[in-house]
């Protein structure tokens, strides 16, 4: 008799990587780095109608030391860039970065002297959510993409 049938459903066999990924992807603590109008759409996503908490990302932390996903929401100017970099550096590993909206992905409509042309020139980005601003459905899709990435990556302990 195989051992699985002897144990029945009282034991689940898995890998450390998989169970850590599962735990991490459903307990995302966001740091909303909100600088512009995309913030309204982030609020709509977070509020009860779309309810970001269904994805385990319902508790924003306003200290980078308690957060593990840096949500960059809105236009980043060159004056703001060192602050963004510093917030990212203050976050503990493991950490991820989401570029929320066209401005953070590529500078969006602002091809001028003041705007950073995509935050990936400043910090490494895991998920890009395009849109001006992105609809809440797009944001939730982005969070699911991030969860997929977290689940499948190598889990550093």
């Amino acid at each position: 008799m195989a051992i699985e049938s002897a144990l029945g459903e009282s034991v689940v066999l898995t890998r450390t990587d998989k169970v850590l990924g599962w735990a991490r992807k459903y307990s995302l603590f966001l740091y909303p780095f909100v600088t512009a109008c995309c913030g309204m759409e982030y609020m709509a996503t977070a509020a009860s109608h779309y309810d970001i908490d269904r994805f385990g990302a319902g508790l924003p932390r306003f200290s980078p030391r308690q957060a593990d996903v840096l949500f960059v929401v809105g236009t980043i100017s060159h004056k703001q860039a060192p602050i963004l970099k510093r917030v990212w550096e203050q976050m503990c590993e493991p950490k991820w970065v989401v570029a929320f909206g066209g401005c953070t992905c590529s500078g969006g409509p602002y091809d001028n002297y003041a705007t950073v042309q995509g935050i990936d020139t400043i910090v490494p980005v895991d998920v890009y959510i395009p849109g001006c601003p992105p609809r809440p459905e797009t944001v939730l899709d982005g969070i699911m993409k991030l969860q997929e990435k977290i689940q499948n990556q190598k889990q550093e302990l």
Binding site: K79, A81, P82, Y113, A114, V116
Partner: protein, 165 residues
């Protein structure tokens, strides 16, 4: 058309400093010499029958390569004044040359002029004599040049960190 009270009074009081005036649909504008701009604003503020007690806006225009109509001075500093008492407005413009873009500060008259003039210095590089703390207000100290001047390149990015993309 009859000239408004404000422009009439200005002409009477400062005949030598008024370069031009015009009114369009109730908006009065006076183009004045830059040396008298503080005196003119003080007169507009303190005359009991004008009482322009509110500096609504202070900005500048760069007329580089403006040929129709041709401009002899490159810059114009624009003041918008409002009277809360009488509910009327006036626009004061003072032309400045490219060689010497300098004008007297209005900070003795209105405290709000402090930040407005700093913004004007930041964006256009216009110096305000007598300003208590003329430094950049929006951009960072390391920034070189004044981005709203017409000869500043549109994408003249000066990153503090990261590549110049």
């Amino acid at each position: 058309m009859e000239e408004s009270l404000t422009l009439k009074k200005l002409r009477e009081r400062f005949p030598a400093s008024i370069i031009d005036t015009h009114s369009f649909r109730g908006d009065d504008t006076a183009v004045v010499k830059r040396v008298d701009v503080v005196d003119i604003c003080r007169f507009l503020k303190e005359s009991p029958d004008l009482s322009y007690n509110f500096l609504m806006d202070l900005t500048a225009v760069d007329y580089l390569q403006m040929n129709n109509p041709p401009k002899t001075e490159r810059f114009e500093v624009v003041y918008h004044l409002y009277s809360i008492k009488y509910n009327h407005r006036v626009r004061i413009k003072a032309p400045l040359t490219e060689a010497d873009p300098t004008i007297d500060s209005l900070t003795p008259l209105w405290a709000v002029a402090n930040w407005l003039e700093r913004e004007c210095w930041d964006m256009f590089g216009i110096r305000f004599d007598g300003h208590p703390d003329l430094k950049r207000i929006l951009l960072y100290e390391q920034f070189e040049g004044h981005p709203l001047r017409k000869d500043y390149p549109l994408t003249g990015r000066q990153p503090l960190i990261g590549p110049k993309n």
